[in-house]
Amino acid sequence: MRRIKSAKLKQTQFPRVAIALRLAGFLLLLSGHLLSAQYVPIVSGAVGFFDSKNTGINFFQPVVAPVVVAPLGKHFLAESRFDLRGFYERKNGNSGPYQGTFVGSTQYLQLDYFATDRLTLTAGRFLTPFGTYNERLTAIWIQKLQDAPLIFPIGTRTTGSSDGVMARGALIAKPAIHVNYIGYFSASSNAAQFQAGRAAGYRFDFYFPGKRVELGTSYGRFLQGTHNNSSGAHFWWQPWRFPLEVRSEYAHGAHAQGYWIESTYRLSQWRGPDSLFGRLEPVFRMQQTFRNSPGPGDGLPGADTKQADFGLDYHLPHEVRLNTSYSRKLSASGNGNIWDISLTYRFLFPMWRGHP
């Protein structure tokens, strides 16, 4: 993730963020005429401060990640998420004064149409539905570890967003099993705020609510330049009886493959989730990537890499969370230690009072 952000630092994109925000504002004004009780538009998201020391190089990132959601009548929903962050590091790597740049990105700006109970159509910019991490865990107030998994770029093509159309819904939605589908097509775009590649893909999930077990598979085909395929599989297990969460993914791309497996355990069984110890959540993630052939610019490690991440999160009151982690990276291109600490505050409030 840091590599992705670094690549974006070369351009400051504030004007385009402003345009995106204006568009979101226009949709909000439109929604003001269509509102009823319980359906007031919301501003949600989080603010955070990230500090990371990666193989001796320290950098800070203050982040604001607002989410705006506005229902437009019974069948439409406009929603967007932005990521606005500063990136501060020393001028000469590990010496010299700190200098910073601003990076803004539109992660999604989409219009959803709830066609039927089993079909939702989406148009605009949306998070590429490859695997689970990108859609479900990239929000800064959700992620348990600051850094994305090493295989994140496989299938998401580094930006993580697509510009086009998407269909999603449930083929089967019974108490015992949900079978969900997502299919999408993305057009190529070089606009700074809306970069995307021409691609198509799908994801299928088999979810067993009674066991809170999910199995799924993803596929994506890159349709510009040299066409290539990405495929993946995921497994989640979150037992009802205790606060253990196990998430894992495997992905195979044109030049590399890899996996990650993450387990978290909230100590809420010791005097409840709001007790001193119940707010603690140890996290462990193991991940590996295997380089099959050189793939410059694909965002993956250049050599086979093995990494273990040990995290300890603390859920403070009032939606504040402190995440800390230590990672040990073992790679043919060099071993290293990564220390992360972050503080995030999640907010959620209505944009105005709404009708009684």
């Binding site: 009780a37 959601v69 969900n180 037992p239 069984q269 093995k306 859920h315």
Partner: protein
């Protein structure tokens, strides 16, 4: 020297996996002996007839709660909007959406 390197390599791959498995086992063992449930509220007794709120809490934990905790405070004016958002994100069924709405605005 070669042996040390091979042991180090072995530990590098097997140790984290062993820690992960041990952690999972400890979690399971603790839960199996603990009377408390994992959530914010205890599990209903066996003869309890589930209400819409119970179903809503279960639906929340089965869908939204897989990625995040419930918000600490939620204005009644925005519950519909939040649920509409989650319907798209978590592929909620209409029944789950109604149950969670009742859970969030009892």
């Amino acid at each position: 020297m070669k042996n040390i390197r091979s042991i180090s390599k072995y530990l590098g791959s097997a140790l984290p996996l062993a820690i992960f498995l041990l952690g999972s086992l400890l979690a399971w063992a603790q839960a199996a002996t603990s009377p408390q449930s994992a959530g914010r509220t205890p599990s209903p007794p066996a003869q309890h007839v589930p209400t819409a709120t119970d179903r809503g809490e279960r639906a929340f934990r089965a869908n939204c709660g897989r990625c995040h905790n419930p918000p600490e405070q939620l204005s009644p004016r925005i519950t519909g909007t939040v649920l509409r958002h989650m319907r798209e994100r978590a592929l909620l069924s209409p029944q789950d959406e109604r149950d969670i709405l009742k859970y969030l605005t009892p």
